[in-house]
């Protein structure tokens, strides 16, 4: 299968802080991959580069056969890239329904009743149906996280970027979330998922990438990666020689 997203030699730094260091990887059409790394490793920055919120200092990003390195963020959304934020960032003055409607209209290019019907489906799937007319600014943290997911899904993305969406959920909520993400994946959406809740990640993804200090340090099947002493040392802080 061809790659939906291809990142090659991507570098980005802010002064002495390097958030991406010649990072290269490919994500196949329909794949689900997980990204692991310690806090501050550059995981979220990678998403910022892919969505266009940040411009790289060097390197190339190709999406769906087109070089998008210089394409503005708004256009990338319309091309089919959507993301959720680790710290939820809803449009606080809009209702839950309107937030998701933005995704459906802007990202998925739907309009009128078609857009509304799609939003209702998404709200149903993310458990927000009973909060549809609540102002997003007044939601609880958990519901804001759900809304992050809903807004991204409403955009019907080809590539869905999830940033620590499972953090802070109860076990039962986590199970429901995994179910939702599995369904989205089964429907053909390509997923890149940054997550510290490793068991949730492992339930969905077929490949893991580990980054540290902006550099990709490992890539491979989840089991191989999780068993790698090098990864354990960096990510879990376990001394392999102990």
């Amino acid at each position: 299968m061809s790659a939906l997203l291809s990142v090659s030699d991507l570098s980005k730094s802010f002064g002495a802080v390097i958030v991406a260091d010649e990072t290269s990887f490919e994500v196949a059409q329909g794949a689900a991959i997980g990204i692991l790394g310690p806090n501050g490793a550059g995981k979220t920055s990678l998403f910022n580069l892919i969505t266009g919120a940040m411009t790289p200092n060097a390197g190339r990003i190709t999406f769906d056969g087109a070089d998008i390195t210089a394409v503005p963020a708004a256009k990338r959304c319309k091309m089919g890239i959507a993301r959720s934020f680790q710290v939820p960032q809803p449009f606080g003055g809009m209702t839950v329904f309107e937030n998701a409607l933005v995704g459906a209209v802007q990202g998925a290019g739907l309009s009128g009743r078609e857009a509304e019907a799609h939003v209702l489906d998404v709200l149903e799937a993310t458990g927000l149906m009973n909060k549809a007319n609540v102002r997003a600014g007044s939601l609880s943290l958990l519901d804001r996280k759900r809304l992050e997911m809903a807004r991204a899904l409403a955009a019907k993305p080809k590539l869905l970027l999830l940033d620590e969406i499972a953090g802070g959920l109860t076990d039962a909520e986590c199970v429901a979330l995994i179910e939702t993400i599995k369904n989205v994946h089964a429907a053909g959406t390509t997923i890149i998922w940054i997550e510290h809740v490793v068991h949730a990640l492992l339930a969905v993804v077929e490949k893991l990438i580990v980054i540290n200090f902006g550099k990709k340090i490992a890539e491979g099947a989840p089991k191989t990666i999780m068993d790698s002493p090098h990864v354990k040392e960096i990510y879990l802080g376990v001394d392999p020689h102990a």
Binding site: G52, A53, Q89, F91, V105, G107
Partner: protein
């Protein structure tokens, strides 16, 4: 007693015109946090465009709206994308300075083109027509102005809360970065906001020009009235802006009733009292 009732009613109607001055200002500030110092001069510019159009085509100033509204909207879009977008950022000073410069440029361009002689748009019979209601003589033009203000504000409110364009305005107003990631082109959305604001300005300018005579220097005063209406009503609340315009208008007519010299002063005093007691205005926007 009747005289006082009359003063209040006239003030309410005058408030409609002030709300029209203010609506564009409120919209621009609400969407992009831009304080447009040139707003009053743009109102006057629209009045002059109305003058030229109605003289050249030999039509009533209201018919000139067909030309002036799209002209001002187009000017707004180009102005925003070509100039004002470049001034927007974390620092609020550049847009203030640039729009102040724009104000000076517009005034001088108008002086060059039209001279400093006062001009007036000829509205015909409507200027003097009045209706007798319960012993009060209500001018048809002020009534019409107030009606137009209500319709314009209802329309803006509808655009804001029930259309895709309005969601774009609210999204960029809420969080510009997220809005862009969700597919809104900020530069374009801002351009459309300014286009809409100046379309309203066109209506305000023509109504101003029919009501009173104007010259290139009167923009500053219209800016102040607009500002006061916005602040009294509460930033970012369009119906509040109408209420603010009405309060300002009533304060002025009552002030004028007490002593003709007090008209403007009374308005400013009410504005200062509101600013001191309720700095967010009487009807601040509820979200956030």
């Amino acid at each position: 007693m009747m005289e006082w009732t009359n003063a209040i009613v006239q003030g309410v109607l005058l408030g409609g015109l002030y709300a029209l001055f203010a609506a564009g200002l409120s919209l621009i500030f609400g969407v992009m946090r831009l304080v447009n110092i040139a707003h009053g001069d743009l109102i006057v510019l629209a009045a002059y465009f109305g003058l030229t159009t109605s003289v050249m085509l030999g039509v009533h100033p209201f018919a000139a709206l067909m030309v002036v509204v799209p002209l001002m909207a187009g000017l707004g879009y180009v102005l925003q994308r070509g100039l004002l977008n470049r001034t927007l950022g974390d620092d609020i000073l550049p847009p203030l300075l640039v729009t102040f410069g724009l104000s000076v440029i517009i005034q001088n361009a108008l002086l060059e083109s039209y001279s400093s002689d006062p001009q007036k748009l000829s509205g015909g019979a409507i200027e003097t027509a009045s209706l007798q209601i319960g012993g009060l003589a209500l001018g048809v033009l002020p009534l019409l102005t107030f009606g137009i203000a209500v319709v314009v504000i209802a329309l803006l409110q509808w655009i804001f809360y029930a259309t895709s364009l309005g969601r774009g305005f609210r999204a960029v107003s809420d969080n510009q970065d997220i809005a862009q990631i969700m597919g809104f082109n900020k530069a374009h959305v801002f351009g459309l906001a300014m286009a809409l604001a100046l379309a309203v300005t066109a209506i305000a300018g023509i109504l101003l020009g029919i009501r009173t005579s104007f010259d290139p220097s009167v923009g500053g005063g219209r800016l102040i009235f607009g500002f006061e209406a916005v602040i009294i009503g509460g930033l970012g609340n369009l119906w509040g802006t109408l209420a603010g315009g009405v309060i300002l208008g009533v304060a002025q007519t009552i002030g004028a009733k007490i002593d003709p010299g007090w008209q403007l002063l009374a308005g400013h005093i009410v504005f200062l009292i509101v600013l001191a007691v309720r700095p967010n205005g009487l009807f601040p926007r509820v979200d956030h």
